[in-house]
Amino acid sequence: MLVVGIATFITLYQKRILQEQERKRLLELEFQQKMIQTQLDTQEKDSIRIAADLHDSLGSLLWGAKLNAAFMGRSFEMEGEVKESYDALVDILDQSIHAVKRIAWELTPEAFHHSGLSQSLATLCARFNGKGLRVEFNEAGESFLWNDNRALSVYRIIQELVSNTIKHSEASRLEVDLFWTPGILFVKVSDNGKGFILTEKRGGVGWWNINHRSKQLKALIEIGDIPMGQGSEISLRIPLQHAK
């Protein structure tokens, strides 16, 4: 009886230890996820703040400068080099205003919550299209207006992938494909650039964001096995539960 008692106690104890270890592991996981969520939320808030600052302060200043320049244009008769210089100044101001708008839009797509994921991605692709790079956006399946925080995370991932392609791939063609199914959204971002080495350690902030946003979305991310120099292909499989 004593032997049975000892065996039962030790078994019970080990079972409790395993339960406790599992509880601690889940707590740690939950804590890590909360930390990541906080970090991503902070990034998003910072983006909104910077975008607002850019738009409201620098944007306003540039608009003010352009209005003054226009007033000067109307007030004085300019000729020759002065006129050329004045036109160049107005052109630079126009470009600066456009750049501020573009940066602010990239930081917080102002219409994201109105237009949703598909429309925002179409706009993103259209903005990068041209100047030696053909960016195509294709969509299939039954899409819907997906505009919550999960959708914004998907948008950020694709934005980061597109940005990486533009910065590093030397590609002339980039495709963003969405395929909507009732439960899953399939995303494919592919280009014909120089590709990248799969074994290379990806420790940058961009990849950190992609990985952690994917984890939060419970998405599966796959990097296509394409030979070096023949482009790259990155696929995402994003569950759509509670998205509608």
Binding site: L2, G5, I6, F9, I10, Y13, R16, I17, E20
Partner: protein
Amino acid sequence: MDLPIIISHFSSGSVLVPLGIFIFKRFRIVKDLAPLIVLLIVSLLCDLSSFIIIRYSVNTYPLVNFYLFTQFSVFYYLFFNYLKRAAILKWIFIFFCGFYTVNISFFQGPFQFNSVTNVFASIILMALSLYYLFTLLKELPTATIHRLPILWISFAALGYYGGNFFLFLFSNYLTKSIDGSLAILWVLHNILNVIKNILFAIGLWQAYHNPNSSI
């Protein structure tokens, strides 16, 4: 030689198992288990003394009562230490000492086995060992519980005093229904003693091989 006598000698000799480990480890004393070594030596000395004085037809019960009190005190001290020296435990021990003194002085006396005190001691130590085991389950102090010396000492206390409790509680029934009167009681008690010493030996072995495992 009768079987009860053989079992009795076997029981007396079983103390040599944990003591043998102590000797094998060159008399090194693990800090927290010093009282246990003292108990083993007292046990050996009491058994040797009983073996000698019984030849002169001298009553050995004073020695038995003294040993049972010593054993209770050592077990109690070990649990007292491991249960964070709770204040209530001090009062229980003082109450037990008073009970022991009154019983040995005015009721059962020193020349007969103090069964009432022994049942009382059994209840206290069973409760303490169960409480300690419950504390272990609650606090989960280590992943390898079998390496904890006090665990084996708790099982020793629970097995020995639990067995004793039922033996002495049902002593009347046992002695009436089974021939051999008190002999059967002592045979069962001696078996419990052997189990207790084996569990002590396991506890000591774990203490020597896992010096950081005590709580």
